[in-house]
Structure formats: structure tokens, C-alpha cells
């Protein structure tokens, strides 16, 4: 009970108060303390990577051992991890050899596998956005109508073809498409964002105070 509950609470309190005060102390010792604790965080994250890797390898190995449907993909995970690790060690962590013109094996994996894969996944966003807007951007009520109109105007003003269409159809109006888009982004959009950010900021302070003072202990798990 003491170790599982009171020690973590004491650590949270001490560290919380120390680093709240640290912000107001310009002395180099204060900045040194911040840098040191950030280094500790990196070290802890490094060790916790082992935990994560063990969990990942464990669950996939269980799938391979049990021969569950799709166990072949778990083998691919192992091949990917071990293969990239081997290639990275052989290339000494460098993407380019010499003066930066020749790709190492790691650089080849990066350029021909990671970059296209990440780009492909990110590009799915365009398709999902199209299907999401088709499904939900319907003027069911006033709020939905406002959202739809704002999105319409912003998208129109964002691209050269949209500006061209605006000039042809609504060119008689004084503001141009990009000016309307700029106004929507800089005025009502900014106001809403600032409002949300103000609330989020206060919420963060309150949540942090709750954790520092031990009022909120749910994140500790057992021992309630």
C-alpha cells in the first residue's frame, strides 16, 4: 500500500511543485535541472521500449505458435523488425555513405519502403475525407448548414481552380475567394480555436493540480 500508493503520490507532489517553481527561476541550476529530468525521461522511455517490444513480440509469437488465421502476417512483423535492425547495424545507422551521394542499405530501405509506405497511408486521408464529407456534410440543421457553408468557402478559396471558378461566377463581388477564406480562417475560426484553447489550458492546469495534490489517483491503477 505504502509503495504502490503513497510513494508515487509523494513523487508526483514533489516533482509537480518543483517544476512549477522551476519556471520562475532563471538561475542556470534551474535549467540544468530541467535538462537532467528530460534526460531521465528519455532513459525511461528507452527502457520502456524494451517492455513494448516484448509485448509486441510476445503477442505475435503466440499467434505463430498457435497457428491462428493470419499467423503469416505475424511472421512478416518478425522479419521486418529483425531485417531492419540487421540492415541498420550493418549501415552504422547512416542513410548515405561517403559524401552523401550513395545510399546505404538502410538508406535503400528508408527510400524504397518507409517513404512510399508512409506516403501511401497519408494519401488515404484524401479518399477518407471525400467519403466522410459526402456522408456527413448535409444541411440537417442550422449548425450543420453553417459548417457546410464555411467548409465550402474555405475549400473554394484554398485552390487556384476554386479561385478561378469564384472569379467567373461571383467575380462581381468585392472580396475574392482567398480573401473570404482568409477571413473565415483568421476571424471566426481563430476565435473558436482560442476559446477552445483557453478552456483546454485551464483544464490542463486543473488536471495537473489534481494530480499534484493527489486528488486524482485513477492513473495509478490498483490501490484505490
Amino acid at each position: 500500500m505504502f509503495l504502490r500508493q503513497y510513494v508515487p503520490m509523494a513523487i508526483a507532489f514533489v516533482m509537480g511543485v518543483v517544476f512549477a517553481v522551476q519556471y520562475y527561476v532563471p538561475h542556470p541550476a534551474s535549467e540544468e535541472l530541467l535538462t537532467t529530468v528530460n534526460d531521465w525521461l528519455i532513459v525511461v522511455s528507452g527502457f520502456s521500449m524494451v517492455l513494448g517490444l516484448a509485448s509486441l513480440m510476445g503477442s505475435h509469437w503466440a499467434k505463430v505458435r498457435r497457428g491462428v488465421p493470419g499467423w503469416g502476417y505475424s511472421l512478416v512483423v518478425f522479419l521486418g523488425i529483425l531485417g531492419t535492425l540487421a540492415v541498420g547495424i550493418a549501415s552504422k545507422g547512416k542513410m548515405f555513405a561517403g559524401e552523401g551521394l550513395t545510399l546505404t542499405a538502410l538508406g535503400w530501405v528508408y527510400d524504397n519502403m518507409l517513404v512510399p509506405l508512409q506516403g501511401t497511408v497519408f494519401s488515404l486521408l484524401a479518399f477518407f475525407m471525400a467519403s466522410a464529407t459526402f456522408r456527413t456534410f448535409r444541411a440537417r440543421n442550422l449548425e450543420a448548414g453553417l459548417l457546410l457553408t464555411a467548409a465550402f468557402l474555405v475549400m473554394l478559396g484554398h485552390v487556384p481552380l476554386g479561385e478561378y471558378i469564384w472569379d467567373k461566377v461571383l467575380g462581381f463581388l468585392p472580396p475574392k475567394a482567398d480573401q473570404v477564406m482568409g477571413w473565415i480562417m483568421n476571424v471566426p475560426n481563430m476565435a473558436a480555436k482560442r476559446g477552445i484553447l483557453l478552456g483546454v489550458g485551464l483544464g490542463m492546469i486543473a488536471t495537473s493540480l489534481k494530480i499534484i495534490f493527489g486528488i486524482e489517483r485513477a492513473y495509478m491503477g490498483e490501490g484505490e
Partner: protein, 272 residues
């Protein structure tokens, strides 16, 4: 009419995906649309700031993005580095995202080769170091302690390109190109650069306007459009300008789909 409206409303999402793919491929078939992007004040502000730097000034560019954000931020980085080399500035490259190291290195070496710039004298690539916040804090205290060696293992102290540069305060202007966190907000909070601008993906650009309006950012290049505007200022047609054609066709398709779905929605609603 009602049946048609209901069919439209229940359109298979795969049909929408097919339409999107067609819209994206259309510019490759028709050729460039040739429509110019109007330059926004926040992009012009970045351009003007670099233009105002005297020759030989150090210029820091932190390329904090991964391959997923390459379409938006790679052309932006290329355009900025081109501008810096054109102005004969001393370019200091680095990144806070480990997966972006390869791209950052490629941008600097490719553009440097174009302009005949020499490594170590005209530009340096510091590479990636762990602990984003620590790296920025460290740069604020001593660049050589934070990066004792560059990406290639060369000692940074004594490098001609870093002469007179000890901390971020010795760098008159820097740009952070970010796809998320760590990114522009991290630099604004922890960095103490004399003057800073940001470049980011279109989706997080609206959130960065708060820093622009408060003066913490001198300018902001948002998304591929921002990159295309910067290329227009440099009077060069790069990847961003080409990409805007695809954005144009896909945006107009989405607008068309929105109009279609609302038309169908109201057609069925009236009947009810």
C-alpha cells in the same frame, strides 16, 4: 427523382474513392492547369525576411517532418533552402524527427549541388539528436555542446559555416518546418531565436495563426499551397506548384460531391 436521390445518398464509398483517384490523375492527362496562386501576406513575410538578411548571415532550418508529410513539406524545404543559397546565406540544417533525417540530408545536398555550395563552408547538416525539448534548450545555451559532431561525424567547432554562432541568439532568423509535435510550438516555447517563421502541413496551419498574430512567428507557410506561393515568389515551378493542380481538381470534386449529396438529401426530405 426520389429513387435517384436515394441511390445517390447510399452511393458505395468505393465509387467515391474511384472518383477521387480519377480527379487526382486528371492533371497528368490534361497537362498543367496553369492557374497561379495568389501570394498570401504570411508567406510573403517569410520571403521578405530572408530577402532582408545580409549575405553571409547564418540561417537555421529545422526540418521536423517524416515521409508522410513529404508532399507538403519537402517542396517547402527545397524552396527555402534554394532561397537561402541564392542569398548566399550560411545554411544550418537539422531535424527533431528521426524518420526525417534522410529527407533533410537529401534536400540540403541536392540543392547545394545545384548552387555549387561547399559543405562545411556554405552549409552544414547537424542531423538528429534525441530529446527534442532538450535539443532546443541546448541550442539556446551552446550549439557545440548539443551537436559536438554533425551528421557525418565531423567536429562542429571550428567549422567556417558556424563562425560567430554559439547559441540560437546568434542566428538572426530561423524557420521550423513541422508536421506535428515536436514542431513549431516546441520551438516557440523553448527556443530563443531572434526571429522565427514556421512552415507546416495544411491541417495544423490554422492552429499556428495564433503565434502569427501574436508576433511570435514572423510568417507562416501553410501546406502545399503555401509552398506553391513560395515557389511563385522565387519564380520557379516546383513540386508544390504541380501538386496544386491535383489539389485543385480533388477539391472541386469534393465540392461537387457536397452539392450533390445536399441536393439528394433535400430531394428525399421533401418527399418525407
Amino acid at each position: 427523382m426520389r429513387k435517384l436521390a436515394e441511390k445517390i445518398l447510399s452511393m458505395d464509398r468505393r465509387a467515391i474513392y474511384l472518383l477521387m483517384a480519377s480527379a487526382a490523375l486528371l492533371p497528368f492527362l490534361t497537362g498543367p492547369l496553369g492557374l497561379p496562386s495568389r501570394v498570401s501576406p504570411e508567406v510573403k513575410a517569410v520571403y521578405d525576411r530572408i530577402e532582408s538578411l545580409p549575405e553571409g548571415s547564418p540561417f537555421l532550418i529545422s526540418m521536423d517532418f517524416d515521409p508522410a508529410s513529404k508532399p507538403e513539406l519537402y517542396p517547402m524545404a527545397e524552396a527555402l533552402v534554394r532561397h537561402a543559397f541564392r542569398k548566399n546565406l550560411r545554411v544550418i540544417g537539422m531535424n527533431l524527427w528521426v524518420t526525417g533525417s534522410g529527407m533533410a540530408e537529401k534536400i540540403l545536398s541536392d540543392v547545394a549541388e545545384e548552387y555549387g555550395k561547399k559543405y562545411g563552408r556554405d552549409y552544414v547538416y547537424l542531423g538528429w539528436a534525441p530529446g527534442a525539448t532538450n535539443v532546443i534548450l541546448g541550442l539556446g545555451q551552446d550549439i557545440y555542446k548539443t551537436y559536438p559532431r554533425d551528421y557525418y561525424g565531423n567536429e562542429t567547432s571550428g567549422m567556417p559555416v558556424l563562425e560567430g554562432v554559439r547559441t540560437l541568439k546568434d542566428i538572426p532568423f530561423m524557420v521550423d518546418l513541422a508536421a506535428g509535435d515536436p514542431g513549431i510550438e516546441t520551438w516557440v516555447v523553448y527556443g530563443k531565436a531572434k526571429s522565427m517563421a514556421g512552415g507546416c502541413t495544411a491541417v495544423i496551419a490554422p492552429g499556428m495563426y495564433a503565434f502569427l498574430n501574436s508576433g511570435q512567428l514572423v510568417g507562416l507557410i501553410g501546406g502545399m499551397r503555401g509552398a506553391a506561393e513560395y515557389e511563385a515568389l522565387l519564380k520557379e515551378m516546383g513540386k508544390a506548384t504541380v501538386g496544386m493542380d491535383i489539389q485543385s481538381t480533388t477539391h472541386v470534386l469534393i465540392l461537387g460531391l457536397i452539392l450533390l449529396s445536399n441536393f439528394a438529401f433535400f430531394a428525399t426530405r421533401r418527399r418525407r
